[in-house]
């Protein structure tokens, strides 16, 4: 019990500090940029864009920061090699997954002359930096900070990854569109914001697309041992598919116990399920046939993915993870947006443009219903005014212990 009290206290202090960071936002007025100063006659995009990236390149979360950095590097090299007269000058700064260091990194990038930021990689630093960027009118596109707190009330802040709750509606639509099932059961963790957030949006979308939810059961962080009751409920309800908006640790127990009682259903997870195959000692045959919604599968066979994975393996000697793919898509999304603007406004030269001007241009393009771009994490990505991405989700299925694209 004492531990609980302590952790609640610590969480409270953290929450306060986040609020304190958020409170520094002062709504700076639109600078009224006149982008026509920078047009070229033929509608082409030219000049050099200074792109900054912030992420944990060292420390405990370095795996994610380096993956994003490597992904961005490959995209920047590719864009620069296109020979269109448009170049990206790229610089990455380390934040060690620390909010304060992240703001320092942001200030360093500003001194360097960054015009647009791809970052930050992790959620807590991103909330702090986006508050600064909002008052500076600096456009930010985060590859992987998925909390809705990142984009809330900041029109300059966009996400390349699905926001946590959006995975729920995307899953419901995917299940309905591909006729995977009509009677669906759900097990979710009601003590976890990630899981309950996805659950809520799944239920809302399920009603729209005509899925029947026949069994809804929950567990908490404290009771994630025994799932016999939940599984018995599913068995009685006759559900064809079970939706699991949970992390893979609990899912591994569910698969094992379902196998014991001989429950034969389809399983559908979200990105929290990613990692189940690398769980040490786990019998991967239990996860055979499990489908999950993940924006990226390294063994997919489409041209974009194959090209990216090959280059990544050549340059860095490892298979890219989802974060690397998110990083790879960021410069492309910004490049396509600028190109779109240039084509519709008689050209654009980005050299030495102020970050305020670029911010307004990019916001107008990202929220333009006519704009979309393809990436390795999804085709036809578009954004809403809240900064959340809308893209066709990719689903993978586990076959013979590896992911196979669906």
């Amino acid at each position: 019990m004492m531990k609980k009290v302590l952790s609640v206290l610590v969480a409270g202090v953290m929450a306060l500090s986040i609020v304190a960071c958020g409170a520094t936002n002062d709504a700076s007025a639109n600078t009224g940029a006149d982008a026509n100063n920078n047009t070229t006659a033929d509608g082409s995009l030219t000049g050099t864009l200074k792109l900054g990236m912030i992420g944990p390149l060292t420390g405990g979360a370095a795996l994610y920061g380096n993956a994003v950095d490597h992904g961005v590097q490959i995209a920047v090299e590719e864009i620069n090699a296109l020979g269109t007269g448009f170049q990206i000058d790229y610089q990455a700064e380390d934040d060690e997954h620390d909010a304060e260091k992240s703001v320092n990194a942001y200030n360093q990038l500003k001194d360097w002359g960054a015009q647009v930021i791809a970052g930050t990689v992790t959620t807590t630093p991103c909330i702090a930096v986006s508050a600064e960027a909002y008052s500076d009118r600096m456009f930010m596109l985060t590859p992987s900070a998925s909390s809705t707190d990142v984009t809330a009330n900041k029109d300059n802040m966009f996400q390349l990854c699905f926001s946590d709750p959006n995975q729920g509606s995307a899953s419901a639509k995917y299940i309905a569109e591909n006729n995977l099932a009509t009677d669906v059961a759900i097990i979710y963790n009601n003590s976890d914001a990630y899981s309950s957030g996805i659950y809520q949006t799944f239920v809302d979308a399920a009603a729209e697309v005509g899925l029947n939810i026949v069994s809804t059961t929950t567990f908490t962080d404290d009771t994630q041992n025994d799932f016999s009751v939940q599984l018995a409920d599913i068995q009685q309800s006759g559900a064809e598919l079970v939706f699991l908006p949970i992390y893979y640790q609990a899912a591994s127990l569910i698969f094992q116990q379902a196998d014991q009682i001989g429950l034969d259903v389809k399983w559908f997870g979200v990105d929290g399920m990613d990692g189940i195959l690398s769980l040490e000692g786990f019998d991967t045959s239990l996860a055979e046939g499990v489908m999950l919604l993940t924006p990226f599968a390294a063994d997919a066979t489409d041209d974009l993915t194959v090209n990216f994975v090959t280059k990544f393996e050549e340059k860095f000697g490892e298979t890219p993870i989802q974060f690397a793919a998110d990083g790879y898509d960021c410069p492309y999304a910004i490049y396509r947006a600028l190109e779109y603007y240039a084509a519709n406004n008689g050209g654009l030269d980005v050299t030495d443009m102020s970050n305020e001007e670029l911010c307004e241009i990019l916001i107008s393009v990202f929220t333009d219903p006519g704009f979309s771009c393809d990436g390795v994490t999804g085709l036809a990505m578009s954004w809403n005014a809240a900064g959340e991405v809308n893209k066709a989700p990719k689903a993978v299925v586990i076959e013979n212990g590896v992911y196979v694209g669906l």
Partner: protein, 290 residues
């Protein structure tokens, strides 16, 4: 209905075997060893490393885990609790919480926060079918181990000379040492037995629910502590009954009332029991009995 009863008993017997360790240490040393759950976790990792990485046979891996935990328990007792023998019980309690965090963080350093899937070490026990009801070998093994341990502990404290010394120390340390009983040695022995039991509990817990993480022992530890209080802390059969009842109530609450409220119901039952019987189900007026 019977299905749920069996799930409840197998969950409860895991709580019960952890509760036995709590109640043993509390009964003799009069302290709540909050690090007990984390010794269970260390036991789980010891068995995992030898059984999974080194492919030791099950009995040897379990034996190794028991030895590791016994030594660990005695060392913790000597370093952390013995200097506080005459301090207030609050100081000892806080130290125990400190030890608990220490063990969790050491485990985090050694094995990282990535969970491991524990191989089922009881898979050699076959399924048992009674009519349409199926009992898994793991559940059967847990219940049987739990009963054996309970009987052995009761016999040990009631019949042997060492057991007698333990009961004496539990009643009055000062008088015990006047009678020529080695108080420190007896308390160390208690910790050794309690921690050895923790290793077995760790193997059973992880075989039944095979996700092994540095925080694996924390929540079952707290539930088992609740079970020990429920049954009457200090009483060995009480810990067993408390554990099994807790498991059954938890599963029934989930099945028939609400999966969301199961914990609330479990703890509400605990509160009612403690209002009616403040010493727990089997607690005597003299709670020193072990």
């Amino acid at each position: 209905m019977l299905d749920y009863l069996i799930s409840g008993i197998s969950l409860g017997s895991v709580y019960a075997i952890i509760a036995l360790g709590y109640t043993m240490v509390y009964g003799i040393a009069k302290m709540l060893n909050f690090a007990h759950g984390d010794i269970i976790m260390i036991g789980g990792y010891a068995a995992f490393c030898t059984g999974y990485y080194l492919h030791w046979p099950v009995w040897l891996a379990v034996l190794f885990a028991v030895v590791v935990c016994t030594v660990l328990g005695v060392v913790i007792e000597k370093l952390a609790y013995k200097p506080l023998r005459n301090a207030t019980s609050l100081a000892v309690l806080i130290t125990a919480i400190g030890v608990s965090y220490f063990l969790q963080n050491v485990a985090l350093l050694i094995w990282t926060s990535n969970p491991k899937a524990f191989p089922n070490m009881l898979s050699f026990i076959p399924y048992v079918n009674i009519g349409r009801i199926q009992i898994t070998g793991t559940a059967l093994g847990t219940v049987v181990t739990c009963i054996v341990v309970m009987v052995a502990l009761t016999l040990f404290t009631d019949k042997t000379k060492m057991g007698k010394a333990m009961r004496t120390v539990s009643e009055d340390k000062g008088a015990a040492s006047l009678m020529g009983i080695n108080v420190n040695g007896t308390i160390s022995l208690t910790f050794a037995i309690g921690s050895g039991l923790a290793a077995i509990a760790g193997v059973l817990l992880c075989s039944a629910y095979p996700t092994l993480m540095p925080t694996t022992g924390a929540m079952p530890g707290i539930k088992a502590f609740t079970a020990a209080v429920f049954g009457g802390i200090g009483s060995i059969p009480g810990a067993m009954i408390g554990g099994i009842l807790l498991g059954v109530i938890e599963i029934f609450a989930k099945a028939y009332i609400s999966t969301q409220l199961s914990d609330a119901i479990v703890f509400a039952v605990l509160i009612i029991v403690l209002i009616v019987k403040p010493t727990g189900l089997l607690g005597k007026k003299i709670t020193e009995k072990v």
